[in-house]
């Protein structure tokens, strides 16, 4: 299993790594209590369910409260399920935290990008558009979307205006610059999807080493 934590994007800043300036995103991740362990025998697949942060008990349903209580955890604000390759090596009630990550390691971040609303094709797909002046009268439009009698229809995935952002995106192979186990912080080189304060999933990289 790729070690996974739930976390929160706190913001970006810069760090001097030796004498080189590095742009970093500050992530607060964990501690995440394991709320449930799913195995092939019980559920048909292997996974663990992890929680993050807490919410007021009166805001949670009885089902939520008791689900957390079973493992001696407070009612979590966010819950996610993480698939495991084999039988999960964790028991419900375990707490996952930042200490398993190392500085210099590669990690993946999964988050939801900022919603940008209904956007044109230039912003959404980097379509070139037309000239701004010289009476072109063709500025930010798409242009042609296909041919005439053949094929007789517009191809699928034709780039057109529409809702942009607000989708789940994964950024792979971000380098861990620093880890602060006391404050549960991971400092990662580069940007990650979402606004500050958004919940994200931090996972040891699937591809990169």
């Amino acid at each position: 299993m790729n070690y996974t934590l739930l976390g929160k994007k706190l913001g970006m800043t810069q760090l001097y790594d030796g004498t080189v300036q590095v742009p970093v995103t500050v992530i607060q991740a964990g501690p995440c209590p394991v709320l449930q362990v799913k195995t092939v025998e019980t559920d048909g697949y292997n996974a663990i369910q992890i929680g993050y942060e807490t919410k007021k008990e009166k805001r949670a349903s009885k089902a939520e409260q008791n689900h957390a209580k079973k493992n001696g955890a407070a009612t979590p604000r966010a819950i996610r399920e993480v698939r495991c390759d084999g039988t999960p090596e964790y028991n419900s009630g375990d707490v996952l935290d930042v200490t398993k990550f190392e500085e210099g390691q590669k990690i993946d971040i999964i988050g939801i990008t900022k919603g940008r609303g209904f956007q044109g094709v230039m912003k959404r797909f980097n379509v070139k558009g037309g000239p701004a002046s010289h009476g072109s009268m063709f500025h930010r439009r798409i242009g042609s979307i296909g041919l005439c009698q053949w094929p007789g229809h517009v191809f699928k995935n034709q780039k057109m205006p529409g809702r942009m952002g607000g989708r789940q995106r994964t950024v792979q192979n971000l380098k861990v610059v620093k880890i602060d186990a006391e404050k549960n912080l991971i400092l990662v080189k580069g940007g990650i999807p979402g606004a500050n304060g958004d919940t994200i999933l931090v996972r040891s990289a699937i591809k990169g080493k």
Binding site: L10, G11, M12, T13, Q14, L15, Y16, G18, T19, Q21, V26, Q28, K183, L185, L187, N196
Partner: protein, 120 residues
């Protein structure tokens, strides 16, 4: 900004930076790496701008070198900037002294000097 991010930045700030202003003549000591050797390079001139705040703060130093104006931007809190020395203090009417770029000859490096004891 998030308090944790603010604290992170606060920890990185240098505490021994002299109070230099726009218009001051300064000597900036920078660490330069040549192969595996490290040495200190000094760039002296007039501070013509200070930009940004906190960890991002930078300042621009202008000098006339062999008749040609040269400007360098230094991040204030970079570990490469080892020392900033104030040589001359001055009285300026502007926050950014970009007008110096348009001047030639003697005027290009003339800034009203301050004849005050350096006590602030």
């Amino acid at each position: 900004m998030n308090q944790i991010v603010k604290d992170l930045n606060q920890d990185q700030l240098k505490t021994d930076i002299p109070l230099f202003k726009v218009g001051d003549g300064v000597k900036v000591h920078t660490l330069v790496r040549e192969g595996d050797k490290r040495r200190v390079q000094i760039f002296s001139g007039i501070v013509i701008a200070r930009k940004g705040s906190g960890i991002q703060e930078a300042f621009t130093v202008r000098r006339i070198s062999y008749g040609e104006g040269v400007e360098k931007v230094f991040p204030v809190h970079s570990p490469n900037v080892s020392k900033i020395e104030i040589e001359k203090e001055s009285k300026t009417m502007r926050a950014r002294m970009y007008y110096l770029r348009g001047l030639v000859g003697k005027k290009a490096m003339q800034v009203k000097e301050k004849r005050l004891a350096r006590g602030y």
